[in-house]
Amino acid sequence: METVARQNFDAGKRPAITIRGLMKTFAGSPLYNGLDLDIPKGRFISVFGPNGCGKSTLINLISGLIPTDGGEILFDGRGVADVTIGYVFQNYRDALFPWMSARDNIDYPLKVRGWDAARRQRRVDELIAQFEVGFDLKRRPFELSGGQQQLVSILRALAPEPEVMFLDEPFSALDYEMTLFIREKLQTVFEQTGVTMLLVSHDLEEAVYLADHVLLLTKRPTQVADIIDFAAPRPRNDATLSAPDFVATKARSLAIFQREVRR
């Protein structure tokens, strides 16, 4: 059965992010040459594609970490500077501030936004309760395990109640046990907050497991190869991984991925 590849998300809902004519060139060769994309609000989107296709670059361009060479990216009509976003880096060790306690790390973006002390304390306490943080946040990041550090990173990104969360391979520096732990925490975050999530992943299983939509990219110059929906109910668990729906979605995504790699 051959289905037509989708070049964009369904435009039925008002999108969280609108990308038009995105251009980015690295060392003279175009990475993005006029990409159009509407990212739906309140959905979990996993970005997957061949090596060097610019998965991370895409979320870095959208989040304003690196400048675009052309095109327009709007968050419901506003530029990125006017929007509260959260970003979780691959390498939590380099992203957290080791001179502050874990709690002060989570608190820092609230300080930057000028919240008063009482409101900040309420918000951090709320996060700790919501995500059942069981370790001592008075300790500094390097005194915590890798998984605990990445959880602190996620809470820090989540603290100022962002409209969009960007996650750049947040599991790749973790061992398998910690990956499972953070994956479940991330699912809880999404269920409880409904924040729009953009996850870059190099592991198709986790990409599909967490996603409402898998965004598959082509080789450079990068375009959308296809968008695959995965509608399994949440909370998803180990049983999800062997459900026929999951296996079929993963197989279909893999087929498109391999077609793009060979192209």
Partner: protein, 258 residues
């Protein structure tokens, strides 16, 4: 367990005493066996006795204080002028690149080669000695602070930027802390450089007191015990300053490199 036994155990676990004991033993053997002429090497016991006498009769105190005071004065000047300069250089690669050659050139020039110039500018008083030492320490502080600021981890800066922090805020909250470990290295090297230059200056520019003056005076009158005793005292001063800076670093910058 008795206190003595627990000390003995600690001494075996961290045998820091082996080095000094070895030096003492070799020195004693060399002196006793006259491997080296007694005209050049007195025995260690009488040398340490001379050091003890200088400490207890107070004759060492003035020279020790003089050198320590000059070194700290030179270091203070160098730190106060060097840290801000390093921060400015490090925060803008264009400024750094345009001054890199000048800094590297003067860093490669022995500071002691500048003595005549500083004598011309400041005269033969304290200012010229402290001036050269401060100049020498200033260069190493500037270089290390600039290096520390330039090598702040980019991810941490990006993390603060994506939270909406302003440039000034990123500088104060992230780059400042990121540069602290390297700044401390610069300050520790700076105080060592200042001591070296001060000792040489006291020897050859001339000085009313100071360990450099004390060492060269002992040599002139061939009081070898006193000369070695003063060298050891100067070594203790340098070691003590280094230890002080290291312990400050360990206490306050234990997150460095994490």
């Amino acid at each position: 367990m008795s206190r003595l036994a627990s000390w003995a155990q600690a001494g075996l676990r961290q045998p820091f005493w082996v080095g000094p004991l070895l030096i003492f033993a070799v020195w004693w053997l060399a002196a006793a066996g006259q491997w080296i002429s007694p005209k050049l090497l007195p025995d260690p016991v009488s040398t340490l006795a001379a050091l003890w006498t200088s400490v207890t009769d107070g004759s060492l105190a003035g020279d020790f204080a003089g050198t320590l005071g000059r070194t700290l004065a030179a270091f203070a000047v160098a730190a106060v002028l060097g840290v801000p300069t390093g921060v400015v250089l490090g925060s803008d690669t264009r400024i750094y690149r345009s001054l890199e050659f000048a800094i590297d050139f003067f860093r490669s020039t022995p500071a002691t080669a500048m003595f005549p110039l500083f004598l011309l500018i400041f005269g033969i008083g304290e200012e010229s000695k402290v001036g050269v030492a401060a100049f020498s320490a200033w260069l190493v502080i500037v270089f290390n602070v600039a290096y520390g600021v330039m090598n702040a981890r980019p991810t941490r800066i990006l993390a603060a930027r994506v939270m909406g922090a302003s440039r000034a805020r990123i500088f104060r909250d992230v780059m400042f802390f990121e540069s602290l470990p390297q700044t401390c290295v610069g300050l520790r090297l700076g105080v060592s450089y200042a001591l070296v230059v001060i000792i040489v200056a006291e020897m050859f520019i001339g000085s009313a007191n100071g360990m450099g003056r004390r060492i060269i005076d002992a040599q002139q009158i061939f009081d070898l015990r006193q000369m070695y005793a003063s060298i050891i005292a100067t070594g203790c001063l340098g070691y003590g300053l280094n230890l002080l800076f290291l312990s400050i670093e360990r206490r306050f910058l234990d997150w460095s490199g994490r």
